[in-house]
């Protein structure tokens, strides 16, 4: 695979984080791009975390929670499903490919499924390439107005 891209995962502690652990225990080899942030529940995931991460320069964001009906907190993933679905559909208006964000369900026992999810999503992000950033290309324009800061050399 080409150069690593920046992929961030928000995983619920009970199912998907455990699923990723199970994948580790099973030595299910995965691409190395993903960095996982542990959340208590997919219901804790404010869509703004995803937007912040994408706008901040991540090339892909993966959210994974417990399967519907299987939430440790009974209902968290139901709220997450609605919020995240709306978010995914929103992304195109701001010029971000909706394929850069996926949400899925992986249980703590599904190590192999986690391997599959990570591998497919990483491939998907590599196919899309690095994300375009709203802040980046405008630097010259903004700098000339004296509004954007030159980072310390």
């Amino acid at each position: 695979m080409d150069k690593e891209l920046r992929i961030v995962g928000f995983l619920c502690n009970w199912c998907s984080y455990g699923g990723a652990d199970t994948a580790g225990v099973g030595r299910f080899v995965q691409p190395t791009d993903l960095r996982i942030i542990r959340m208590p529940c997919s219901g804790r995931i404010d869509p703004l975390f995803v937007l912040k991460t994408l706008i901040g320069g991540a090339d892909g964001v993966l959210v994974s929670g417990c399967h519907p009906r299987d939430c440790h907190y009974a209902e968290g993933n139901y709220y997450a499903r609605r919020r995240l679905e709306v978010l995914k559909r929103f992304l195109p208006i701001i010029g971000i490919d909706p394929g850069r964000f996926e949400y899925t369900w992986v249980s703590a026992s599904e190590g192999q499924r986690w391997q599959h999810v990570v591998t497919s999503f990483t491939n998907q992000i590599h196919a899309l390439g690095p994300v375009q950033r709203i802040g980046r290309q405008s630097l010259a324009k903004a700098c000339s107005l004296g509004t954007v800061l030159e980072p310390l050399a």
């Binding site: 912040k52 209902e75 709220y79 499903r81 709306v86 929103f90 010029g95 499924r113 290309q137």
Partner: protein
Amino acid sequence: MSLQDELKAQIVKRLPELDVVIGWGQGYDSLHRTPLFITSEADVDKLVFDPLCVHNLSTYLTRYGSAKRIGVVVKGCDSRSVVELLQEKLIHRDKVMVFGLPCEGVADLGKVKRALAAKDLDMGRVRAASFADGDLVVTVSGQEIRLPMAEVQADKCGRCRYHNAVIHDEFAGQPITEAAPDTYADVAAFEEQTLEERMEFWREQMERCVRCYACRNACPLCVCRDYCIGQSREPNWVSQRDGLEEKFFFQMIHATHLAGRCTECGECERACPVDIPLLLLKRKLGKEILELFDYRAGTDPDAKPPLLNFKVQEDTINERGW
């Protein structure tokens, strides 16, 4: 009796029950109306209602303590904000008296500005304005210009389903029966661009943002007000830097916080002093929420909003297999 006189009579009748009635009055020039706070019968004389009454006055409803009884004059679109506020229990029905109106559409002063600029005229110099035969007639730099309302009407009015206040204690005038379909054609047209073009569009628009937060403060549903997470450090979502990422991210906050609540009144966009087309972001969310949940915010005070609700088996969310 004219609609305006009927409204005045209703306000005079109900004023004794109320601490204040919020309507529109004459602004600083002939093209501008301004929110009017009526506390006496003498104030009622200053009341105006015409297509220049653009403001959604429901934004003031959450700024009074719960002890006050407030009257508010609303057009169809504005009334949906009142419904939404009631639904979210941010105002109480017995504390709010709604003076509902039928509305055929309001002017978009941005369009007026553009139409006059096309004739090398400056809207800032208009000396007189009136309505005649469906035209906005303005006198500017010594010329009388007729602008057909159809050309300078706000976009939201062209796709309005709710010409009449959907909630009211008093209703002046005759209800308007027709309703236009809203196909979200504007969103579709915007999305014909490539993703790169769309982001470049926002890059150009956000460059002008001065972070005055007029978009937020004009919004009737932005009720966090002084405690907006866009400006706090605890939590600290946005830094004080004013790069495009920060400015744009604030709009992400505004948009996502309105998902399933926004009635698309367009005050964010109208209030923007540098004309950033912010409503588009909310329209996109409105479109997706309508498609997903068959839900239009601000139409039913008893509805449970879609993002505070769920179905164990969602009918419309096609969860993606891997």
